[in-house]
């Protein structure tokens, strides 16, 4: 029963958990009440939730599985780190048991690879999937600016969570292409190191551990912080700013129409993928079919390529060259940027309307 790839993840919020459990129960049975669900999910051991068949425009296909760690959505913070690492390790063992060639550790679960922690089984290669996430964030920013009639070269880009694996990958990819780069992260030591690295390379950068120190100068914001729940307000952004929320869970707590936010790091498989049980519309909660997180898409791409390797591993190792290599593979299989959207739906008209403000 071996598979090309395994996608290891966790549910973003309790609504998502309820949707998955309801889908597994079937239409004949009533949904499990929300309070009961919160007492059941924490006990579920990591396991395969559905099987996946992904199709490529190159005519090949790859078989995979989606394994959920069943980390409760309200236990993503550091207080539960030990327990959650145990779940990720169990999920990794599950991928090995299923004979996965490569397994991607999506969302929070990538901490195991980013932290260079040992304990991962060797029979399967593990990747964080962060390289594809960076590729999609960069393409998303390029697309948004294009719609807004602007360019990267004339934009000031703020990255929140800049020293994380995804944030630093974006910073390295964009630093020399923007007018100015603003870096924000909680860890002052790491932030200084990244700041110095990019300045040495010739970028114009400013760094701070406080978002509000930087926000009012940003034309574009990339949110890539590891937060247990949306907590960023970003109320001091200029009216013309565009925000790419690439967090999982999402970073930005949205209260009004401003700023314009699109969900970043998302791609679409143009030839589609099939899941059984059919959880399309349950695991993919986006308004377009065959959309998935970049980290999961990286697992699919490596499966389609039969490249069973730890493409993304460690923290801060994502280079522009590796991003371009991953993007080239994605294009070979027809995996492209998803239409820009957020929870309310397509956002491209709103982005286009920013032309008037600018």
């Amino acid at each position: 029963m071996s598979v090309d790839f395994a996608l290891i993840g966790h549910l973003e919020d309790w609504d998502a958990a309820a949707s998955v459990v309801s889908a597994l129960r079937g239409r004949e049975l009533p949904p499990i009440p929300a309070d009961e669900l919160r007492t059941i999910v924490p006990w579920l051991p990591p396991r395969t939730v559905c099987r996946v068949l992904v199709h490529s425009v190159a005519g090949v296909e790859a078989r995979g599985i989606y394994i959920d760690t069943f980390i409760p959505p309200d236990r993503l913070d550091t207080r539960f780190l030990h327990e959650n690492l145990g779940r990720v390790r169990d999920a990794a063992q599950y991928a090995v048991k299923e004979g996965a060639g490569v397994a991607t550790l999506g969302g929070f679960t990538s901490i195991l690879l980013e932290g260079k922690l040992d304990g991962l089984p060797e029979a399967t290669q593990f990747t964080t999937g962060n390289t594809m996430t960076v590729a999609l964030i960069v393409r998303g920013i390029e697309r948004a600016l294009s719609i807004a009639g602007r360019s990267l070269e004339e934009s000031t880009v703020l990255i929140i969570g800049a020293t994380g694996d995804v944030g630093s990958g974006c910073a390295r990819h964009l630093a020399l292409r923007t007018r100015r780069m603003l870096l924000c992260a909680r860890n002052a030591g790491r932030l200084a190191a990244l700041h110095n690295e990019l300045r040495s390379a010739g970028a114009i950068t400013t760094a701070s551990t406080v978002v509000d120190d930087l926000a009012d100068e940003a034309d574009v914001v990339i949110c890539a912080a590891s937060l247990g729940a949306p907590t960023l307000h970003l109320e001091s952004l200029p009216a013309h700013a565009i925000v790419c929320d690439a967090g999982y869970p999402k970073n930005v707590l949205r209260r009004s129409g401003r700023p314009v936010i699109f969900f970043g790091g998302l791609g679409r498989v143009s030839k589609g993928f099939r899941m059984w049980p059919d959880l399309e519309g349950v695991l993919n909660r986006h308004p377009y079919p065959h959309v998935a997180q970049g980290c999961l898409l990286e697992g699919m791409i490596l499966g389609l390529e039969r490249r069973f390797e730890s493409f993304s591993r460690g923290r801060g190792a994502i280079t522009p060259e590796r991003v371009d290599e991953m993007w080239a593979m994605a294009q070979r299989h027809g995996i492209e940027l998803a239409p820009l959207h957020n929870a309310a739906g397509c956002i491209e008209d709103e982005i286009a309307a920013l032309k008037r403000i600018a």
Binding site: M1, L24, R25, W43, P45, Y94
Partner: protein, 258 residues
Amino acid sequence: VRLIDSQEAYMETQACCTDTVLSFQQQSVWADVFAQAVTGELIGAMNYRTLAEMCDLASEKAEASEHAEREEAHAQMFRRLGERIGTQVRSDVDAPYWSRIRAAFVRCATRGDRTGCFVIQEVMLESFAVASYGRIARIAPPAIATTFAAIAAEEHEHVEHAVALLRGIRERDTDAFDTTVKTLHAEVMTTLAEMVASEDPKGHCGLCSGTCVKEALPAVGLCTSELRGASLRQYMQTLDAIGVPGDASLQWVAQLPV
């Protein structure tokens, strides 16, 4: 925690037996918990006696009989625990939920389905016993905890024995095995899930001395959601070890009543 009420004189006599003073409510809750445990063990003993009758080989017959005796011994140990806290422990193998489980086992035995019998007793019932006794051992006063922990360990051996046996049976005919488990799951696990549901969906269990004990479980540090969660996790992990695909067992468990 030392809780004193009007039964002080009685409690002083039993304090020396349990190392912990129990309130009247706690004593009543433990009595109901023991009643479930004793009845479950007696059902287990009956199931193993039935299995012994089905065995052709003398060695298998002896093993099943030995297991039956161990289950009876467990029931006796739980009864003695009841006596130590000053209460008579009820038991009733004809109580509604337990009798449904026994009936499912007998139906398997009647059609000569030994695999089904093993699945009911050593996967489903023992998973619940191992997990729930384990949870009780973590929170109970020492004298009670020791007994539950010891019996949980023995039941765990039964599970491990079953895993090795059933993995072999499954490898010989995977589809037939998985179909058997799925069918029995719908029948037996549904009953077990109802027993640990937050409310009694089918009325009084026939064992609690008064109203349903579930709401009073927090008085001794237990709650139904923990017992249910731990038991279902043990069950899924047992099925994993046998080789049943995790996506299948997940779907089955998701369809249980809550």
